[in-house]
């Protein structure tokens, strides 16, 4: 088998207090390892503070990991200096959640789309324009958008611009960080279809971050469930939804309101709040809210281990609850 396209090993990120902030070290990520094969879409799901965005940003080294290794196309990007890192980033792009905050109000769409090409020194002006127009066509926006400003577009159209910006560099890998969370339902489905279509057509490798498990199910091949900076479960999408193994995944799936008003009963509601990552529980971080926790769960950090032959992994010591 080929080496994975993206390989993350023992990624840890601790946010230490700075001269301007006091308080304890925040353990945002602890010992995260996963692989993404070329052309695959991996989903990161979890609630606030689970570390989804920290992983997404670390993978492009938009923030510096505390320790661990991130091999992208064979190169450990955590060790690259600025020049080679910029060259690697040509292949890696980011789509942001908020289509209002992520587009500059002072730049034309053309300037926004060609900025990356300028930085990377790709092509002359007509060539850059041609690439930008091709990206606009790919996201189904009219070419005349090029000379207009972001405020002239609706939320859904802005998100298309954000996607076009990621496409102009013709990347091989995209981190999409909650790309549809800020959109209305009817627009959300349009953007999901667009992303899926582009991913298939361009053979993109993707890390797809979302708190919405139904969206992730549609777009991802493999899903990673995070809680408080640790991986709880990893599984092929279909298997995760059909047979969730970790008690947290089960609770998360059960908490999503169903569209069927007759299915109101039988919801499992987790008690309590997500603990602070500045002071995570010992042992299994989920044990304080886990409905099936044992005394032993406080003692050891459960390793991520295979439970079936189809690539289903879970970090839970109990096997008697399935």
């Amino acid at each position: 088998m080929d080496a994975p396209f993206l390989s993350v090993r023992n990624l840890t990120k601790h946010f230490a207090p700075t001269a301007f902030s006091r308080g304890p070290v925040v353990r945002a990520l602890d010992d995260i390892s996963f692989d993404i094969a070329r052309g695959q879409v991996v989903g990161l799901v979890g609630e606030s503070g689970s570390g989804k965005t920290t992983i997404g940003r670390s993978v492009l080294r938009l923030i510096e990991p505390t320790s661990g290794e991130i091999r992208f196309d064979g190169v450990d990007i955590t060790k690259l200096s600025a020049g080679p890192l910029t060259r690697q980033r040509r292949k890696m792009q980011y789509i942001f959640q908020d289509p209002f905050a992520s587009l500059s109000p002072r730049m034309t769409i053309g300037q926004i789309l060609t900025e990356g090409l300028d930085i990377q020194g790709i092509g002359n002006r007509p060539e850059r324009r041609a690439r930008a127009e091709k990206a606009l066509a790919a996201v189904e926006l009219p070419v005349d958008a090029y000379d207009r400003y972001a405020h002239e577009f609706s939320g859904g159209q802005r998100q298309r611009i954000g996607i076009a910006r990621a496409l102009t560099l013709e990347p091989e890998f995209i981190v999409a960080d909650e790309p549809v969370s800020a959109l209305d339902v009817s627009i959300q489905a349009q953007i999901i279809n667009l992303l899926r279509d582009l991913q298939v057509r361009l053979g993109l490798t993707m890390l797809f971050i979302s708190h919405d498990l139904a969206v992730v199910e549609y777009i991802c091949d493999t899903v990673i469930v995070l809680y408080l900076g640790r991986i709880m479960e990893v599984a092929p999408a279909a298997a995760l939804y059909a047979r969730p193994q970790h008690p947290y995944t089960r609770a998360l799936l059960s908490a999503i309101p169903s569209l069927d008003p007759l299915a109101r009963q039988g919801r499992q509601v987790l008690k309590g709040d997500i603990p602070s990552p500045a002071n995570p529980p010992t042992g299994c971080v989920f044990r304080t809210r886990c409905p099936v926790a044992l005394d032993a769960c406080a003692g050891i950090v459960p390793p991520l281990r295979a439970t079936t032959s189809d690539g289903h992994l879970k970090a839970c010591i109990r096997d008697d609850i399935a």
Binding site: S48, S186, Q188, I192, D197, Y218, A237, A251, D260, V269
Partner: protein, 335 residues
């Protein structure tokens, strides 16, 4: 039947933009009985929040006002008050008293420089005339009722010391402090994680069962509607396009917009099948029209697969599809 808690008829709220009056909400009729939860659902700009702000008289003062219609509220003492045209002073006596409000972002609805206990006690002192000491005792009791552990200590804390879920519980305690007949909850779980959302929905249902208040629940999330509401009104471009009991509307939508919305929500377990078949998610083509440039006739017609010429001539009235379900669609029988 009892007098309803809230009865809105013919509501029209307008905003003055660039010298023109633009209707953000029109022809809205809505009734909420005691102990009943009615969900107002729609996308951005559909008018759901403008409707709720019209009830409490909090439309942006300089540009927005209620132009037509009636909003009648049954108060705690059983009298019915017409809220439109009420002077600001009398309206203040209703708000936070007979009507409790919970908004989306608990951090912005709480004042960072007062303790949680002081903020819950304030309306009790103002509206019910209780002493500082009695109001403070009430505040602690309310915190316990909304499921906050260690309420004595929490009452002395500031908003930043509480988690998002706890803060939303505190704003619910504040909204309930004067025992309102109507609770307006505007996207109260939108800023929360899904496991915390489930807790808050359970809490609201439980408090309603105890107190029998009516709830107007404004949301964009259809799953939440299915979870909490008895009846639902679907808004599009400022009008209610369909309304009825949640069970009826969700099992058999009688307006193409409702049907399209229901189809475009990704459902757990369904995506795997769609993906395997290579089928895209169903969508509603196009975008929500600008309120300043509404098309003639049915506002949804430009995006509607069922639209016929008659749809583009006049705004359809609400048809009674069943004794309880209404649709603003000429072709409701074809759905």
């Amino acid at each position: 039947m009892d007098t309803p808690i809230l009865s809105i008829s013919g509501l029209r709220a307008v905003f003055r933009i660039a010298g023109r009056d633009i209707a953000a909400v029109q022809d809205v009729d809505l009734v909420i009985g005691s102990g009943e939860t009615v969900a107002l659902v729609g996308e951005s700009g559909s008018g759901k929040s403008v409707t709720s702000l019209s009830i409490i008289g909090l439309l942006p003062k300089k540009i927005g006002h209620v132009a037509e219609g009636s909003i009648a509220l049954r108060r705690r003492d059983g009298t019915v008050t017409e809220l439109t045209g009420l002077d600001p002073e009398s309206l203040r006596k209703v708000r936070g008293n007979d009507i409790g409000m919970v908004f989306q972002e608990p951090m912005t609805s709480l004042n960072p420089v007062y303790t949680i206990g002081e903020q819950i006690a304030e309306p009790i002192r103002i509206h019910l005339g209780k002493s500082h000491r009695d109001a403070a005792t009430d505040a602690v009791r309310l915190l316990a009722q909304v499921g906050i552990p260690d309420p004595d200590r929490r009452a002395r804390q500031y908003p930043h010391e509480l988690s998002g879920g706890m803060r939303q519980r505190a704003t619910i305690a504040m909204a309930l402090s004067c025992d309102p007949t109507l609770l307006i909850a505007d996207e109260p779980t939108t800023a929360l994680d899904v496991t915390i959302q489930a807790q808050i929905l359970d809490l609201l249902a439980e408090l309603q069962a105890q107190r029998g208040m009516g709830i107007l629940f404004v949301t964009h999330n259809l799953g939440v509607v299915a979870e909490i509401a008895d009846r639902v009104a679907v808004m599009y471009a400022g009008r209610i396009v369909e309304s009825g009991p949640v069970r009826e509307v969700f099992t058999r939508p009688r307006h193409p917009y409702t049907a399209g919305l229901m189809r475009s929500v990704p459902r757990l377990g369904q995506a795997t099948t769609l993906k395997a078949a290579g089928t895209p998610l169903p969508t509603i083509a196009g975008n929500v029209p600008s309120l300043a440039l509404l098309p003639k006739g049915c506002s949804f017609a430009p995006r509607c697969a069922l639209a016929v010429d008659a749809c583009r001539t006049a705004v359809p009235p609400l048809f009674a599809a069943t004794t309880t379900q209404q649709s603003r669609c000429l072709r409701w029988e074809d759905l």
